[in-house]
């Protein structure tokens, strides 16, 4: 989620630029109370406050594709997915899987998963229907898999379903899947896969451009009622929802591109929930004091890193990477740039995750030790004040999305920290469409400042980002943009996805995290927390650290 607020290409340079100007405006103390009743204000105030039962969700990016398999924008489009569609099982705020379109969670105990972990038998609900009244059956689940694996469809990700060997509908409400090899994250694969309707899409010539993508039909708690492009989407409750009829009479996702404007609308009551990208940390203190509303912190799976390109001559020695980690004042970074909101972490997992290795020891902020480590590694300060070794200067660029104000401030903190140990860092930010293109994927950068989570989060499998055969710059398949190679890691990652028992897996991931903290291919700084603003009239809203968005339980929401 935080990734969205900070990194999505739609988080424009200009908007962040506005943040500076707007912040000045917003922080004027007069703002808080002085709402003067005027003729116009009185005339329209009734229109402004939404009626009971209606809830307006404010977002700063526009959802444009509502096909749950095709959209790319995590956040706003995931929000629509959760409102309109269902998966086989959901994940609750405690991290427990809860049956949704399936009647039970398959396990080895209940026979849902075979002893070798390869065959999955999933029983489906008999009482679920599509919004157009057609019954939901196993054929829809089979069709969803067909679509995911169809080479002609631009699905964004196969969610791990490429591990499937065969799949069939045993009867109308049972589906049997055989995997190529045991794959522990497969539970999450299904949690991340919304089921699409076969009776609507089977005969469509090209699913990529189907009308369904903009007027979706799901089985979820709300029906997609109406959309005003560039402005809002209206959802109507699905009275026949298998999980019980929603309590709201109308749900609206309202698109307000500018953070300051959205905050203003939240303040005036035009918007009930400021979710998705969250209130900018700068406004947190102000938001806490707003009357008629409260704020919540929503832990996010996104971890903020400094990515080292281990393929560059400066970063081939892990002592250099570790020295840089020790030279950076992480606490100052969190406190001064993000107002203390994010939670520190020493791993690619947030510290509240079940697989987080609690034994990890923070090497701490220690410039003297960092300098000594660089000396030991042979990097000595040259006449220009910058360390060098064998003709290579310890100088590099750091890139992120241009115009991301928070990251730009953080870069300055890091730059100052590194200067003290004679390391030269140059800030080289570019538009999102540039920095996250080949520059990142083909490992052309020196270092990046970036926030990411695991491929199938909340599963702790991280192989896609650290295995040696996952380096795109070397022809691999994966997201190992740091070009990190370690045989032990490769073996552990392979083992980690094959073992199903959680206690056994924990040991494997503990070791992986230990190695990564020592090798430091990327420097973990903190896990984001999204600041949610919510009006007091809204009830039933629950923060879920395991979903990228908190609209996972909209059927329970109320508005008085």
């Amino acid at each position: 989620m935080s990734e969205n607020s900070n990194e999505r290409p739609t988080a424009l340079n200009r908007r962040d630029f506005l943040k500076v100007g707007g912040t000045a405006a917003v922080s004027v103390p007069a703002m808080s109370g002085m709402v003067t009743a005027t003729a116009i204000g009185a005339l329209t105030s009734s229109a402004r406050a939404a009626a009971a039962g209606q809830c307006v969700l404010g977002v700063t990016q526009e959802a444009v594709n509502f096909n749950p398999l095709l959209y790319v924008n995590t956040g706003v489009e995931t929000s629509v997915e959760f409102i309109v569609f269902d998966n086989l099982w959901k994940i609750d705020p405690a991290g427990k899987f809860v049956p949704n379109l399936a009647t039970e969670i398959p396990t080895q105990q209940n026979g849902g998963i075979s002893a070798d972990g390869l065959t999955w038998t999933i029983k489906l609900r008999t009482d679920a229907t599509w919004h157009d009244g057609a019954p939901f059956t196993a054929a829809d689940v089979v069709f969803t898999l067909d679509t995911l694996l169809n080479p002609k469809v631009t699905v964004r990700s196969r969610n791990g379903h490429e591990n499937v060997e065969t799949y069939t509908a045993v009867d109308d409400h049972t589906i049997k899947i055989k995997l190529k090899e045991a794959f522990a994250p497969y539970m999450v694969s299904w949690q991340k896969t919304s089921i699409i309707p076969k009776h609507i899409l089977a005969d469509v010539a090209d699913i990529n451009t189907a009308p369904f993508n903009t007027s979706p039909i799901g089985t979820g708690p709300f029906k997609f009622a109406n959309r005003v492009a560039g402005s809002e989407i209206e959802f109507e409750p699905n009275a026949k929802y298998h999980g019980g009829a929603p309590k709201l009479s109308k749900l609206i996702q309202k698109f307000v591109p500018d953070q300051q404007t959205l905050y203003a609308q939240f303040q005036t009551g035009e918007v009930d929930i400021y979710d998705t990208q969250g209130i900018p940390p700068l406004l947190y203190e102000k938001a806490k004091k707003l009357a008629g509303s409260k704020t919540m912190l929503s832990p996010s799976p996104f971890v903020e890193f400094i990515y080292f390109n281990c393929g560059k001559p400066q970063f081939q020695d892990k002592r250099v990477r570790k020295a840089i980690y020790m030279a950076i004042d992480k606490k100052a970074w969190i406190d001064s740039v993000y107002y203390g909101v994010p939670i520190p972490t020493l791993s690619f997992l947030p510290s509240n995750h079940w697989a987080y290795n609690k034994a990890l020891v923070d090497p701490g902020f220690n410039p003297a030790k960092a300098a000594a480590l660089l000396e030991e590694a042979g990097w000595k300060a040259a006449s220009d004040g910058v360390r060098a070794k064998d003709g290579v200067r310890l100088a590099f660029t750091m890139s992120t999305t241009a115009g991301n104000k928070s990251r730009e401030l953080a870069q300055q903190v890091v730059q100052q920290n590194l200067k003290k140990i004679n390391v030269e860092m140059t800030i080289k930010n570019m538009p999102a469409s540039v920095v996250w293109g080949d520059y990142c994927v083909k490992s052309e950068y020196d270092t990046l400042m970036v926030g990411w989570d695991a491929l199938l989060y909340p599963d702790p499998d991280y192989g896609d980002r650290i295995k040696s055969n996952a380096i795109p710059a070397k022809g691999g398949n994966g997201s190992n943009y740091v070009q990190y190679e370690n045989k032990e890691i490769d073996e552990l990652c392979a083992k980690g996805v094959n073992v199903v028992d959680q206690a056994e897996r924990k040991k494997i991931y503990d070791r992986i995290q230990e190695i990564l903290l020592d090798d430091m291919p990327f420097a973990p700084i903190f896990a984001y927390q999204v600041i949610i603003g919510i009006k007091d009239r809204i009830g039933g809203y629950a923060v879920n650290p395991y979903t990228p968005i908190n609209s996972w339980n909209t059927a329970d929401w109320t508005a008085s």
Partner: protein, 317 residues
Amino acid sequence: MRRFILHRLLQAAILLIGVSIIGFALMHLAPGGPLAVYTLNPTVTSQDIERVKVLFGLDQPVYVQYLKWARGLLTGHWGFSFFGGQEVRVIVLERLPATFLLMGSSMMLALVVGVSIGVLAAVRRGSGFDYATAIMAMIALSLPTFWFGLLAIFTFAQTLGWFPAGGIASATDAGLLDRLWHLVLPMSVLAFVLVAQWSRYTRSAMIEILSQDFIRTARAKGLASGTVLLNHAVRAALAPLITLAGLQLPLLVGGALVTETVFSWPGMGLLFINALNTRDYPILMAILMVGAVVVVLGNLLADILVALVDPRVKLHG
């Protein structure tokens, strides 16, 4: 006249082809591309990115992509958005009315207020009013639109609560009154800069005309000063102002872009900003072409109107 229009239309067609080639080339030559959005989604692997790249046709040479696109455009098929999967023609056409409403109303407002100020300032040259409006115009022209927009939101929406902070209509009530109420702030902000320009141009045009012989003659004939001003002077000043209106179009389009983002106005500007950030090429090209057509036709229309109001102007083919 007909020959002139035909000739100009032919010129316009060549111009538009040129614009499309340059636009397409620049867009594709610029570093980065639409697939960066996929990289940022943590569930997407580099394998997925390669797969989508081929399906979008982005692995083909740029000229092949251009020819495909141009052929589609000529047959009325503008392509599909990379991210929405929707037909670009539908996406753009559903945004046009909002932009035209904002641009049209701002232009009307600016025209009425700007020309009035300009005429008054010219008539009362050197007066306090003249100086005050000159200073106002300088401020308006040097203020960035987004800053002025934020100031307006802060003052009239957040502090005073007179107007909504953005949007084209309330989510819960979208009557005519509600729509007008939403229009006031963005329209005024966009009109502000235009008023400054209109008033300054009108003032100089009027000053020049007011010193001419035919005005003195009209006055000498004993016509009422109001009649002289409106029937003689303003009419003569119209020609340069119409040309100005044509030239202002690109500025208006640019201003609308910023204004729409600040006020979350669901028009083409907002669509353009989003498409630009995600590099949704089909949408960008469509907006570029619509913008180019509006500017080219607007200027053609301005030329024709000038000929109509000013009999001295002859249109040559």
